[in-house]
């Protein structure tokens, strides 16, 4: 298990990257508040193609800086745990942002949305993969090893977003 300092850094970097991704997505014309009712084709494209790529590329930036600046010699499971903490920070920021967006429907709806989103740890799973990718990159110095983990994380995120936007 990595030291608490590294876990805290990964978590804070996850929160910061969520803010960065939100700004980037808003700049690309995405509505980051919860959507109800019918959705347009452009929304589907943005949510299933653009958002996963932007978020999965931004999320591991903090862990990447940790491995670049401090070069800690971790086991693979430690890199995965760092990714998990980055994903936790990212998810909490995004969940509270969405819940705040649902406040117009009342506090109960906002809490229900927050609870539902907290029960779906997509960002934790995806950033576990990217954390491992950074660990592989640190050991082998081959960018392909990072990409091998990043691409499934983006695909998983895209599949999840597609399902969520098409079904509910």
């Amino acid at each position: 298990m990595p030291k608490g300092r590294y876990l805290a850094l990964a978590f804070v970097a996850g929160v910061a990257s969520a803010g960065l991704a939100t700004i980037g997505e808003m700049a690309l014309g995405m509505d980051v508040s919860p959507q109800t009712g019918a959705v347009s084709a452009m929304t589907i494209i943005l949510v299933t193609l653009v958002a996963p790529v932007v978020e999965e590329c931004v999320k591991p930036l903090g862990i990447f800086l940790i491995q670049k600046e401090e070069r800690p010699q971790f086991k693979m499971i430690d890199w995965a745990i760092l990714g998990l903490f980055a994903g936790l920070g990212f998810a909490l920021f995004e969940d509270f942002l969405y819940a705040a967006g649902a406040l117009s429907y009342g506090w109960n709806a906002a809490f229900a949305l927050l609870g539902m989103r907290l029960l779906l740890p997509l960002h934790l799973v995806a950033s576990t993969l990217t954390g491992l990718g950074i660990g592989m990159y640190q050991k082998t110095r081959r960018p392909l090893d990072f990409a091998v983990m990043l691409v499934p994380a983006i695909c998983l995120h895209a599949l999840f977003n597609f399902a969520a936007v098409m079904v509910g």
């Binding site: 109800t36 086991k75 890199w79 995965a80 079904v167 509910g168």
Partner: protein, 113 residues
């Protein structure tokens, strides 16, 4: 398959198994949360609730399957990773194994090359 990749696969299995169970709970609760939020926002008639329920159930089952497969992979392979014999070096004088990198043989005490 290098040791790093084997470690990475075990790490994925170890973390994805509980996360998948967590997500299964989320997908199981998903239809009820959507129904409640839609009621609160007055848009219940705009959603297809039976479809959402079936989807939630299917997604929850899929997550449970992934969790079981990940846990199975982890428990079947963790011993292999943990019990791999450390690298050794054979003493040319007494023909016994010593840890790789040892300067002298632990059995005969002679210097190892």
């Amino acid at each position: 398959m290098t040791g790093e990749w084997q470690d990475a696969k075990l790490a994925i299995a170890k973390l994805v198994a509980p996360l998948s169970l967590w997500m299964a709970a989320g997908w199981a609760a998903y239809p009820y949360a959507i129904e409640y939020i839609s009621k609160q926002s007055g848009e219940l008639d705009t959603i297809d609730l039976p479809e959402i329920r079936w989807f939630g159930l299917a997604a929850a089952i899929a997550c449970i399957v992934v969790a079981v497969m990940s846990a199975g992979y982890y428990f079947m392979n963790r011993d292999d990773a943990g019990t791999q014999a450390p690298p050794t070096e054979r003493c040319p004088y007494c023909d016994t194994d010593n840890p790789a990198g040892a300067s002298a043989c632990a059995t005969c005490g002679r210097r190892l090359a």
